[in-house]
Each structure stands twice: as structure tokens, then as C-alpha cells.
């Protein structure tokens, strides 16, 4: 006796920012199947022209992030049965970013904002200086540690309604990186960071809606980091630095 193969009803975004449509696929359902498995099945067995992005498949690289039934997720770490009990899946590229093709979002604006927020290390010493020990119990170090697990997957950026309404806003990931560096005793760019996050697209645009913290797969809290930046820039305002 044969058991009828259960099928998933999958709708996939096709096209670019200039024009798109949705294609439907019937995909065989399996136990412990991830959404990335579903996308890969479509590309390998139904339509080889489907474009998408992935690398590690174990939740370390962040490159497979997509919108799954309207929610930003790492597709490699999302089991189908957790998000589509009725067997229906809608898979789209990450929100708030241009689309290169199909499910591959253009990450350029995301990383441009990371740079604009001074999200890179500003060395305070040279390689010839002795290594300064870091006290892990120091309050600033503990605050910096809260954000270091960010892998730039842009889930928070796609989840952020402020980014959706205000495209110039730097977004949660870049601002969290700025906050991490601001609390890192090895970083020498504090004034520049405060300046970078105080401009017209800076941390003050955040409405504290909390989608970033809600959807971050690493359970980080960019909203807390942004609140910290607001505090520090406000302090600098009272010290007479009108643009932080």
C-alpha cells in the first residue's frame, strides 16, 4: 500500500524591484524540512532559474534570510512545520531592501549604513603596543558583549517599520554596532560614532517599536543599544555639542 505524498503549497516571489510576480510550486513535504530545503528543492527540481542566496546552512552566516509568510527569518533554521501548519508558504526577499532577483535582496544599502554609522574598528593602539587586558566584568564591556554576536543578516533591518517609512534611517543593526564600539575600550572613535548616529538618519528616528529585538534570530536587542545611543548623545548635547 502506498501513502500519498503530502505536498506543500509554496508561493515564491519572482523578478526584481522593477517588476515582479508570484509563482506557485507544489513541493514534497518531509519531516524536519527547513524553508531553505524547500527553496533548494524548487531550484533543483522545478525551476533552475530561481535565484536565492545561502552559504553555511547552520545559522552562522546569515545569508539565507528571507521573508517567510511575511516574517523575516533565517530560512536554514526555520522548520516548515513551525511556520506553515496548513502547508502553505509564501517566500519573498527581505523587506526594506532592493531586490536583485527573485529571493536575493541587494544588501548594499544595509552595509552602506553600517559604514555610515562608523561601524568599523577605530584603533587606539598599534600592533607594537602591549596588549591591554580586557576585564569581562567591566560594565561597558558587558554592554558591548550584548551586541557582538550580530552576524549582519539584516533580519532586524527587514523587520523595522521605521526603516520602511524612513529609508534614510540607519537601522537597528548599524546602530547596535555603533553602540558596541562605543562601549569597547579598544575603540578610539567615540566622538565620531556619536556624531555619525546624531544626523538626520540617526538613532533619534527610532520609535522603540521593538521589532528588531522581537525577530533577531540571535536574540539580541538592538532597541536597547539604540536607547543607549540616545542617552549618550543627549548627554553630549547638554555638554554643548549640538551635533554630538
Amino acid at each position: 500500500m502506498t501513502v500519498a505524498q503530502e505536498m506543500l503549497d509554496v508561493t515564491v516571489h519572482r523578478g526584481t524591484s522593477r517588476g515582479a510576480q508570484y509563482d506557485s510550486f507544489q513541493v514534497p513535504a518531509h519531516e524536519s524540512q527547513t524553508v531553505l530545503d524547500v527553496v533548494s528543492w524548487i531550484q533543483q527540481f522545478a525551476d533552475p532559474t530561481l535565484s536565492y542566496r545561502f552559504a553555511c546552512r547552520v545559522g552562522m552566516c546569515g545569508s539565507c534570510a528571507m521573508m517567510v509568510n511575511g516574517t523575516p527569518r533565517w530560512t536554514c533554521r526555520t522548520h516548515v512545520n513551525k511556520v506553515a501548519a496548513d502547508g502553505k508558504l509564501m517566500i519573498e526577499p527581505l523587506r526594506n531592501l532592493p531586490v536583485i532577483k527573485d529571493l536575493a535582496a541587494d544588501m548594499d544599502p544595509f552595509f552602506d549604513k553600517w559604514t555610515a554609522a562608523e561601524g568599523h574598528h577605530h584603533p587606539s593602539q598599534t600592533r607594537h603596543d602591549p596588549i591591554v587586558p580586557i576585564d569581562p566584568t567591566d560594565a561597558a564591556r558587558a554592554e558591548a558583549d550584548l551586541g557582538v554576536e550580530c552576524i549582519n543578516c539584516a533580519i532586524c533591518y527587514a523587520a523595522c517599520d521605521t526603516v520602511a517609512g524612513n529609508p534614510d534611517y540607519l537601522g537597528p543593526a548599524a546602530l547596535q554596532r555603533a553602540w558596541t564600539l562605543l562601549n569597547d575600550s579598544r575603540d578610539d572613535g567615540h566622538a565620531g560614532i556619536l556624531d555619525a548616529v546624531s544626523g538626520s538618519g540617526g538613532c533619534h528616528n527610532c520609535h522603540s517599536m521593538g521589532s528588531c529585538a522581537q525577530y533577531c534570530p540571535n536574540e539580541l536587542n538592538p532597541m536597547r543599544a539604540i536607547a543607549g545611543l540616545k542617552r549618550e548623545t543627549a548627554k553630549s548635547f547638554f555638554k554643548g555639542k549640538r551635533n554630538a
Partner: protein, 110 residues
Amino acid sequence: MLDLRLYMLQRLSALVMAPLVLGHLAVMIYAIQGGLSTAEILGRTQGSALWFAFYGLFVIAVSIHAAIGVRVIVHEWLALRGAALSLLTWGACAGLLFLGLSAVFAVTVQ
């Protein structure tokens, strides 16, 4: 769209407004007890430097606070930006100042 300066202006104006809102509500509740007439209210407010300062400051704080709030909403929901957004911000501030201060002058000065 909302830089540090505008953010601080909106927060500081809110700080000014908070006690004034409470004072305004208290006055409203007090004023309608026992059916105060318009003439009786005007009799107490006209020529009063205290009420002029109270509501004058209130109007200035509201005009700043609301204009920045409207700026944010219009930018995020209607995608207005650049010079048009600045014009709207200043226009909202000027309009609220004009209407509010007209009322303050009418009630406390004449």
C-alpha cells in the same frame, strides 16, 4: 529627518509641557465647579502676568513639540522630504504659535 537637535527640542518641550498640562487640567476642573461664567474667568485672567506666562509658555512648547511630531509622521507616511518637509515643519510651528498666542493675548491682555 530627525537629528539630535530636533530630538532634544521635542523632548525638552515635552518636559516643559508635562507640568503645564497638569496645571491646565486642574484649572479646567476648578473653573467649572459652581458654574463660573466667561466674564468671571476673563475677570481673573485679563491683566494677569501669571496666566500670560503660563499659557504663553504652554503655546510655545506645544508649537515646537507638535511641529516636530507632525514632521515625523508626514515624512514616514507621506514620504515628504527636503525643503517641502522643512517648510511644513516651520509652517505647522508658525500656525500653532499664531493661533495659540492670539488666544493667550485675547484672554490675558485685552
